[in-house]
């Protein structure tokens, strides 16, 4: 198991390194000049070149990459002389548009995105799994048909429609204060304020994901129910409740763990549409603003790398968790 872990960890690091390199290369070949974008229309070439030097863009791409990696471990210096400043490690770069260290920007956005993702995650698991189990247990009955309708509705409605509909409803019934909307409230200071802030974004995301999970749970429960070992469980004399909880769900939900982990990791990279609709200052909005408004290269590199890291690390965690759930994986 330790050997396996070490191997997986090494592979994970490798993937992250490769992703960071590709991100750097992609932005290097794009026909955009970040130095030119740092100042306005009437900028003199001298200022642009000075900024290029301060951004560290006047050296070859591999040197830029080397500085970036180094900055992750030690404080990074920008510029020289009186204009010099530094970002503390781990430094993901410095945003000249926002005039802040990228790490600070991310540190501000991450709790928002994490709050959004974790709440939506539990909500969609709760809705998806319960509806899926009910639909499977009442196969062919009205409950099953109602859940099928829900699945179709949830899958076919894109978040930019459902999000706006939910927002409009919430505003119409005065459930959200439009001025306070999107303001970050720490769950440690005011759990209720935090939840109130996030409940509608949670619902928006959960609606989209829960539909898929309902369908998946339903088919897994039905498939597991016809397994021989479920008949054995009944033959032992176990009650239907125990058969469902202990025997069917254990086997039916294990595969759901895999996709749930990856979906969650994907959301941690930022839910661009939902964050924009609800004015949430999370990672999704940070990256989309960096791309659309001002081509803020250091921010784009950092958020892309972060999103990839979340997925790769979560993948590893899911695999480890799976070994605990399914003993057949453990020995292999």
């Amino acid at each position: 198991m330790l050997k396996y872990l070490a191997r997986r960890l090494a592979a994970t690091l490798m993937v992250i390194t490769l992703v960071s390199m590709s991100v750097f290369l992609i932005f290097d070949v794009l026909p955009m000049d970040p130095a030119r974008l740092t100042c306005g229309k009437g900028c003199s070439p001298a200022v642009i070149e000075a900024n290029r030097h301060r951004l560290g863009l006047d050296v070859p791409v591999q040197v830029q990459y080397g500085r970036f990696v180094k900055g992750l471990f030690v404080d990074r210096q920008y510029g020289d002389g009186a204009a010099a400043f530094s970002c503390p490690a781990p430094a993901f770069g410095y945003s000249f548009n926002r005039h802040e260290c990228v790490t600070t920007l991310i540190a501000d956005a991450l709790p928002v995105t994490f709050s959004l993702a974790i709440g939506a995650f539990f909500l969609w698991l709760l809705i998806g799994i319960s509806l899926g189990v009910i639909a499977a247990k009442r196969q062919g009955k009205w409950q099953d048909k109602a859940s099928t309708a829900f699945v179709l509705f949830g899958i076919s409605l894109p978040t930019f429609i459902s999000g706006i509909l939910i927002l409009l409803m919430a505003l119409k019934f005065r459930l959200i204060d439009p001025i306070e909307m999107g303001r970050w409230v720490s769950p440690f200071e005011s759990p209720i304020g935090w939840a109130k802030n996030f409940i509608f974004p949670w619902l928006t995301l959960a609606l989209a994901f829960a539909a898929t999970y309902t369908r998946f749970t339903r088919s897994n429960v039905l498939e597991t129910s016809s397994e021989d070992y479920i008949r054995t469980a009944r033959a032992k004399g176990l009650s239907e409740k125990v058969v469902l909880r202990k025997h069917i769900l254990r086997a039916a939900l294990a595969p759901i763990l895999t996709i749930a982990g990856l979906d969650f990791a994907g959301l941690l990279g930022g839910a661009i549409i939902t964050e924009n609709i609800f004015n949430l200052p999370g990672l999704g909005r940070l990256s989309i603003r960096a791309v659309l408004n001002d081509y803020d290269l250091p921010v784009i590199v950092a958020t892309t790398l972060l999103a990839a890291t979340f997925v790769v690390v979560m993948n590893l965690l899911v695999d480890i968790a799976y070994a605990y759930i399914d003993p057949r994986v453990r020995v292999a």
């Binding site: 397994e227 021989d228 070992y229 008949r231 054995t232 469980a233 009944r234 033959a235 032992k236 004399g237 176990l238 009650s239 202990k246 025997h247 254990r250 086997a251 294990a254 759930i325 399914d326 003993p327 057949r328 020995v331």
Partner: protein
């Protein structure tokens, strides 16, 4: 011998889009404690369907069940067909237990052997988890699994097929049931392992004084362990007798055919094994008259074409020997000797 289980006119049918499938049709038999009843027949003859009905393991939504399956419990008789699902559930494991054909898929892959046996034990016994595991270890030892203390913590995929079937037996017997239904317990196993499992079942039957119903399509298995035999065909019992009568005086052309299709040491060398021609009829549209008629080589000997028009009754032609055939005893004697000499 007072029977422990009395099955009377048990009929199980499944409504499907194509029509009603009569999987088990007016089946009656009894089995007493200490006795082994073998139920023999080919696939789809209704053996498993009948036993699952006794155990109450058919979904009441998908199966229509009528008739009775009376367990003569110390507390009084109880019909598992008409009792509530909850009442039947409380009999499972304790009064009647079942083991299945494929031990590879019949154990939960995510729980250790010990957990699965202890779970069954805890249903009817008070005690801690550790007590359950201790009891599971004892049972593993009883069914002949080496190093039970170590293996009790292992998972099904770490066991071979024969060992898994031993685990299934240990699990079925952990609450000392009065009736054990073994549904093709050796079909998925190697021949050498088969006889070990059969011997184990026999030993366990003595140990616990159980009534055993052994479902099989293999007459070789029957010869090893059964006291009495029911032969089923197309959902009906066609012959029922003591084990020796079945082998030496089969009273139904189907049984005669089955016996001719297996090799026997007491018969002439060089004799070719004979297959029964044709296929069993569809259970949705059973033919008028005898279901075996189209495959029977003796039906033309019955006058007035009765085999095609009249379903034969299950008659007691000799004492304790029932068969469902229009042929007379003289005709059957001829059929037996004819078949043997071919």
């Amino acid at each position: 011998m007072k029977p422990f289980l009395e099955v009377k006119n048990l009929t199980v049918s499944f409504p499907t889009e194509d029509g009603l499938v009569r999987a088990s049709n007016d089946v009656s038999f009894t089995v007493a404690r200490g006795e082994t009843l073998a139920v023999v027949g080919e696939s789809g003859s209704g053996k498993s369907v009948t036993s699952l009905a006794v155990m109450g393991l058919h979904s009441r939504r998908s199966a229509n069940i009528s008739g009775q399956a009376i367990l003569h419990l110390p507390t009084g008789p109880m019909d598992t067909i008409s009792a509530t699902p909850e009442a039947v559930r409380k009999l499972r494991g304790k009064s009647m237990a079942m083991i299945f054909q494929d031990p590879m898929s019949a154990l939960h892959p995510y729980y250790s052997i010990g957990d699965q046996i202890a779970e069954a034990w805890a249903l009817y016994n008070k005690g801690s988890k550790a007590d359950g595991i201790r009891r599971a270890t004892e049972m593993l030892e009883l069914v002949g699994i080496p190093e039970p203390g170590k293996r009790v913590r292992e998972f099904p995929h770490q066991f071979s097929g024969g060992m898994r079937q031993r685990v299934m037996i240990a699990m079925a017997l952990v609450n000392n049931p009065s009736l054990l239904i073994a549904d093709e317990p050796t079909t998925a196993l190697d021949v050498t392992v088969q006889s070990q499992i059969l011997k184990l079942l026999k030993d366990m039957q003595k140990e616990f004084n159980m009534a055993v119903i052994l479902i099989t399509h293999d007459l070789g298995v029957v010869a090893e362990v059964a006291d009495r035999v029911c032969v089923m065909y197309a959902g009906k019992i066609v012959e029922q007798a003591e084990i020796n009568d079945i082998y030496y005086k089969p009273d139904h052309p189907y049984t005669i055919g089955l016996l001719n299709s297996i090799p026997r040491v007491d018969q002439l060398e060089g004799r070719r094994l004979q297959a029964i021609p044709g296929q069993p009829p569809s259970l949705i549209s059973l033919p008028k008259g005898c279901a075996f008629r189209s495959r029977c080589s003796f039906s033309e000997q019955v006058p007035d074409n009765r085999c095609a028009t009249e379903v034969p009754d299950l008659n007691e032609k000799l004492e304790g020997h029932f068969s469902r055939c229009h042929l007379t005893e003289t005709q059957l004697t001829r059929a037996r000797s004819l078949a043997g000499s071919k």
